[in-house]
Structures are given as structure tokens and as C-alpha cells.
């Protein structure tokens, strides 16, 4: 039996269409596999981070310090330095995107470390600028009495509408009971 030209063209086009379909199908399969891999990786990286935190910073002595920034009318933070007992130091420089994220309500963990039970000195140096472009550098010192268990401290930078300057404060939100 001989195929007519039309039939031959039809068969050939079907072969190519099927090849295209197979390609699309393969892409779909890969997309499903990728989603699964992404989810798995997220879980694995999270588990590893938890383990590292549990081993390196046991809950009994763990101290986490976060930075929270108000709308930043009078101050834009560019750098923060955290120092515990004058030894344990952590620094963070903020790029434009990070500064904006802070001003829009984001909080950043600026310190993760260990502290024994008892009184500790926390020194924080805030560096940045005001609206006129003046450089502002302010160091604050606070003392905290560490009890057993995880400590979470929040450093707040808020606008003071009376003095038209920033106010710096700290608050222990976990571990002060």
C-alpha cells in the first residue's frame, strides 16, 4: 500500500507534533520535580540551621538580638555594632535595600551568641545619617541579668517627635520572667 502525499505529510506532522508534546510534557515533569526539590532543600537547610543553632548556641545560654526601626524620619541607619561584655562583637552594614526593608517594618537579627547566667553589659553603636546628610553616631550601653533559657532582645530605633531626633531603646521580649 502506498501513502498519498497528503497522508505522508499528515503522518510526518503527527510525528513532529508528538515530539513537541513530549518536550512540553518533559518540561511539565521537570517543573513538578523542581518544586519537590525546592521544598526538600528548604526543609533540609532549615533542619541544618536548627541543628547548628542547637549545637553552637544551646537554649540555656542562647541570646538573640534583633533590630527594629521606626519610619526613620530623623535617622537612617547604615551600620550597627553590637558588643557583649566588650568581647563578643557583631557588626552589620545595611545597603539601600536592607535599609528600606527595615524602615518598612522588617526586623533584622543582628546578634546570635551565648551568655552565662548573671549580669552582662550590652553596648550598641548605631551609625547613620539624618535628613540633612549629617552623620550621626550614637553608642548606648545597657545591662541585663541573664537567667537560664533563651533570651531575645529587641533594639528599637524610633522617631522622637518632640526632640526631632531618634530615640534608641532596648527590650527583652523573651527570658525576662
Amino acid at each position: 500500500m502506498r501513502l498519498s502525499k497528503f497522508k505522508l505529510a499528515f503522518v510526518v506532522s503527527c510525528i513532529f507534533l508528538n515530539a513537541g508534546y513530549a518536550c512540553a510534557n518533559e518540561k511539565e515533569k521537570q517543573a513538578v520535580a523542581d518544586q519537590k526539590t525546592k521544598l526538600e532543600t528548604l526543609q533540609i537547610v532549615k533542619d541544618a540551621a536548627q541543628l547548628i543553632e542547637d549545637v553552637g548556641y544551646p537554649e540555656e545560654s542562647r541570646v538573640k538580638i534583633y533590630l527594629s526601626h521606626g519610619p526613620g524620619k530623623y535617622f537612617g541607619l547604615q551600620k550597627i555594632t553590637v558588643l557583649i561584655d566588650g568581647i563578643d562583637k557583631s557588626e552589620f552594614n545595611y545597603n539601600e535595600k536592607q535599609s528600606q526593608a527595615l524602615l518598612r517594618g522588617g526586623s533584622n537579627r543582628v546578634y546570635l551568641g551565648n551568655a552565662s547566667e548573671g549580669i552582662h553589659e550590652l553596648v550598641v553603636v548605631f551609625e547613620g545619617g539624618d535628613r540633612k546628610g549629617n552623620i550621626i553616631k550614637k553608642a548606648e550601653t545597657w545591662l541585663f541579668d541573664k537567667k537560664p533559657g533563651e533570651y531575645i532582645i529587641v533594639l528599637n530605633v524610633v522617631d522622637n517627635e518632640l526632640s526631632l531626633r531618634p530615640d534608641f531603646s532596648y527590650k527583652i521580649i523573651k527570658g525576662n520572667q
Binding site: T37, T41, V45, L51, V55, Q100, N108
Partner: protein, 493 residues
């Protein structure tokens, strides 16, 4: 005494709840901090970590926010899981917000019908920002489906204060001309848009160039040649539409019979390093203009030059195809950093040609994005591996099993990631080769045109020479005849 203890316990539990609430808010704001830097990976791991430790309490709004992070990270099953809980919520506002995100998810997956169905389930009013996005998505979907009336209506619903207004107006003008074929109206709309301050000041040059180039061609078609020139000249010289705009300007000048200027520009155009359609075309246009300027000799020489140029291009393209097949260009074509900083290496002619060829392909961009996403996962797995190795000595017996499992999980996941990387690499390469092959076919076409024009030219020249020779022969014959002819009235001896 018992009553006193109960009261103390009650107040203590209140304090604990207050603290838990503060911690939850803080952790959410930390997730926001990551999300606002487009760092979806860390935003999700922070969320998963806090969720594991039950430190985070999600209300409906926060749940929708987390769903939006999953949506941005293309983890659609997670988005569905989170939103499925919300679409049955008692509050109509929460339900609507969930339908909105779900609609967006379908839209992102190009499931247009499902997106429309989902959006139609929204009962009340969305927030102005969500409403605006919905109109734009509906408009684009309608435009893609050639449903121009709906597209026009949707685009008209977007408020004048929208940040997307220039894009909306552009799409509105395109939808209108597709419906009415009224190019006069299109000219008016695009001119108004091109003249608005927002195009000059706030838009990226990529979009403003698109407006100016489209408008230039529309005006050229409408025979408003002076105005067309004005807009072609506004296009950024190092932008992606520069050659198209120059080509438009050359057409316009030719229409105005300003051949010398058109020639000058064409010669500039072919000097641009980026080899594309406009430049190929210029190689055919230049000898045509030279003929118009009656410079036949140069025209012939340029046709010859064009034949050589296209022949070289064909050889180069074959070379690129082979190199791409061997993976020699992968370091450039799959590296997102390189693509973002394209201007730093685009001076390399070979690379620039290749990049320009493929960068317009959606499929290629998609493959590169996915490839880089997988590369990032690979990096994160490696980082976790090394961080774990560093703490190995500190691992106590209680955590040994966790440690071992973590390392095993990393190794297993890395295999999958590597497999995916290879897949996307091959897929991206496939599109590059396809694009190069298409360029090769185009250049072959141009080579044929140049050869044909040259042959015609030689043919005409040969005909002319033949004609001259024939004329000369005829003249000589005539003269000979004149000499041999006996004058009337004289007798031959």
C-alpha cells in the same frame, strides 16, 4: 490561698501570652525583612523554623502573606495548601483576598480560564492596589485572547494615579488599534504617552524606547515623516531598540529622498557591533541607495561586500552553533550575573551577537532563571554541609543521629539538584541553538538576496556592454556599407 495562687497563675499566663505574641510579631517582621529584599528562600526557611518551634502564630492576614512568599518562590502546592484554609473563612474580606492570590497563581501559571474563574469568585471589593492588579491582569489576558473590547474596558478601569499607568496606556492603545484598525487614534494615544513627563522621567529606557520606536513606525506608515524622525531620534543609542530605530530613520529619509543622509546613517548602522536583522537589512539597503545616487561603481562594490559579509556571518554562525553544542558558551549564557551585567562584556562582538540573538526568547529566559535557581539551591546545600562539618567536634551523642541524617539528606538532595541543573542547562542550550539556526537561515536568505541583486546588476551591465558592442558593430557595418555602396547616378566600372 488557693484563690491567690490561681490569680497569680492567671497573670503569669497573661504575661507569657503577651511575650509569645511579641516574639511571634518579631519573627514575622524578620520574615518580612528577608522577603522585602526578594530573599524568598531565607524568608521561607525562617518561617519553617519558627513554625517548627511553634513560635509563630498566623492570623488570616499573615497566612496570606506567607502564601504570597510561596507564590513568589513558585511553590504552588504550598500556596494552595495555605489558601485552601482561607477560602472557607467566615470573613468575606479574607475569602476575597485568598481568591485573589489564587487567581494570581493561575495567572502566573498561564492558566487563563482558571484565573478568570477564580477572580470571579471574589464577592466584595478588593483593596485599590489589588483591584488595580486584577484589572491589569484581566486586560492582558483579554488582549492575548484577542478579546479587545474587554481588554479596553479593563485597562480603562485602572486609575490615573496608578504607577503602572504608562504600561496600561500603551496596552490600551494597542488593544484599541487592534480592534478599530484606527491608526490615527493610535498615533494620538502614543504621542500623548510619549510626550507625558512620566515617560521622560520615571520609566526605564527599555519601555520608553519601545514607545518611541512603535510611534516612529506608526507615523512613518501614516506618512508623517518629520514627526517619525523626531521619535526615532529619541531612542537610546545603546538600547536594545537602537538598530530598529536607526532602520526606521533610514526608511524615513529614503521616503523623503534624502539619500545622502540615509546612506550616511546606514553606514553608521553597519558599524554597530551588534549583528541583527536591522544591520543585515542595511547591507541590502546601502547599494540600493547608492544606485539611487547614481554611484553604480560603489553600488556594485557594496553588493560584493554584502555577499562577503553574509558568507562570513554564515561561517561564524555555524561556528557558534558548534561551540554552543559543545557547551563552550555556557559560562556566559547561563550565568545570571553575566546577563545582568551584560554591558560589561557586550563589547565582545562574538558574545554580543550571541546574547542578542537569544535574549529575546522567553523560553531561554525561563530556562536560565530555573538553572540559576537550582544553582542557588546547590550553593545553599553546600553552605549547610560545610557549616555542619565545622561543628562536628561539638556534636554530642544526643544529636549524632540528627547530624548524620542532615548530612545524608544534603547528599541526596544535592544529587537531585545537580540532575535538575543539567536538565535546565541542556534545555537552555537547546533554545540557543534553535535561535542561532534561525539566524543562520535568515542570513542565508540575505545572502541569496545579495547574490541575486549582484547577478542582476552584472546582467544589466553585461546587457549594457553587449548593447554597446552591438551598436558599435552596427555602426561599423553601416560605415562599411556606406563606403562600399555606389553613389546614385555613378556607374560601376
Amino acid at each position: 490561698m488557693r484563690l491567690f495562687s490561681l490569680i497569680v497563675c492567671f497573670f503569669l499566663s497573661l504575661t507569657a501570652n503577651a511575650n509569645e505574641d511579641e516574639v511571634s510579631k518579631l519573627l514575622l517582621s524578620e520574615i518580612m525583612f528577608q522577603r522585602m529584599q526578594d530573599n524568598n528562600f531565607d524568608a521561607i526557611t525562617h518561617y519553617l523554623n519558627s513554625d517548627d518551634k511553634k513560635e509563630i502564630q498566623l492570623n488570616e492576614n499573615n497566612r496570606a502573606y506567607i502564601a504570597s512568599i510561596y507564590l513568589n518562590y513558585d511553590l504552588h502546592s504550598q500556596v494552595r495548601n495555605m489558601l485552601d484554609l482561607l477560602i472557607h473563612n467566615k470573613s468575606a474580606k479574607i475569602r476575597d483576598m485568598s481568591w485573589f492570590y489564587l487567581g494570581k497563581l493561575h495567572y502566573k501559571n498561564k492558566r487563563i480560564k482558571s484565573a478568570v474563574d477564580t477572580f470571579s469568585k471574589i464577592e466584595g471589593k478588593l483593596s485599590p492596589a489589588e483591584q488595580e492588579i486584577k484589572h491589569i491582569m484581566y486586560g492582558v489576558m483579554a488582549l492575548n485572547n484577542a478579546n479587545y473590547d474587554t481588554a479596553i474596558a479593563e485597562f480603562k478601569n485602572v486609575s490615573e494615579s496608578s504607577v503602572f499607568l504608562p504600561y496600561v496606556k500603551y496596552n490600551l492603545a494597542i488593544s484599541t488599534v487592534k480592534k478599530t484598525r484606527d491608526f490615527g487614534q493610535l498615533t494620538k494615544s502614543l504621542t500623548a504617552l510619549a510626550e507625558s513627563k512620566v515617560v521622560d522621567n520615571k520609566l526605564s529606557y527599555i519601555f520608553s524606547d519601545q514607545i518611541y520606536t512603535t510611534l516612529g513606525y506608526v507615523l512613518l506608515q501614516d506618512n508623517q515623516l518629520e514627526k517619525a524622525k523626531q521619535y526615532f531620534r529619541k531612542v537610546t543609542l545603546d538600547g536594545h531598540l537602537a538598530t530598529r530605530a536607526l532602520q526606521g530613520l533610514i526608511y524615513t529619509l529614503s521616503e523623503q529622498e534624502q539619500y545622502a543622509k540615509a546612506l550616511n546613517l546606514s553606514l553608521q548602522l553597519i558599524k554597530m557591533t551588534i549583528g541583527n536583522e536591522a544591520i543585515h537589512h542595511a547591507y541590502i539597503v546601502i547599494p540600493y541607495i547608492l544606485q539611487k545616487l547614481n554611484d553604480t561603481e560603489k553600488a556594485t562594490a557594496f553588493y560584493q561586500h554584502a555577499v562577503e559579509y553574509f558568507s562570513e556571518q554564515r561561517i561564524d554562525l555555524k561556528k557558534y552553533i558548534t561551540k554552543t553544542k559543545k557547551g563552550e558558551f555556557d559560562q556566559y549564557l547561563l550565568d545570571l550575573e553575566k546577563i545582568i551585567n551584560v554591558d560589561e562584556w557586550i563589547n565582545d562582538e562574538e558574545m554580543s551577537r550571541l546574547f542578542r540573538f537569544v535574549s529575546t526568547l522567553d523560553e531561554w529566559r525561563d530556562a536560565v532563571y530555573k538553572y540559576n535557581e537550582m544553582k542557588y539551591l546547590e550553593k545553599r546545600l553546600d553552605d549547610s554541609f560545610y557549616e555542619l562539618v565545622i561543628i562536628e567536634a561539638d556534636i554530642k551523642q544526643g544529636n549524632r543521629a540528627r547530624y548524620k541524617k542532615s548530612l545524608e539528606d544534603i547528599a541526596a538532595s544535592k544529587k537531585k539538584v545537580e540532575k535538575s541543573i543539567v536538565w535546565h542547562q541542556k534545555y537552555a542550550r537547546h533554545f540557543v541553538i534553535q535561535a542561532l539556526q534561525s539566524q543562520y537561515d535568515d542570513v542565508t536568505d540575505y545572502l541569496g538576496q545579495a547574490r541575486f541583486a549582484l547577478a542582476q546588476f552584472y546582467d544589466r551591465e553585461e546587457q549594457k556592454e553587449n548593447q554597446l558592442a552591438i551598436d558599435k558593430l552596427r555602426k561599423e557595418e553601416q560605415e562599411r556599407l556606406n563606403k562600399t555602396q555606389v553613389p546614385v547616378g555613378k556607374k560601376q566600372k
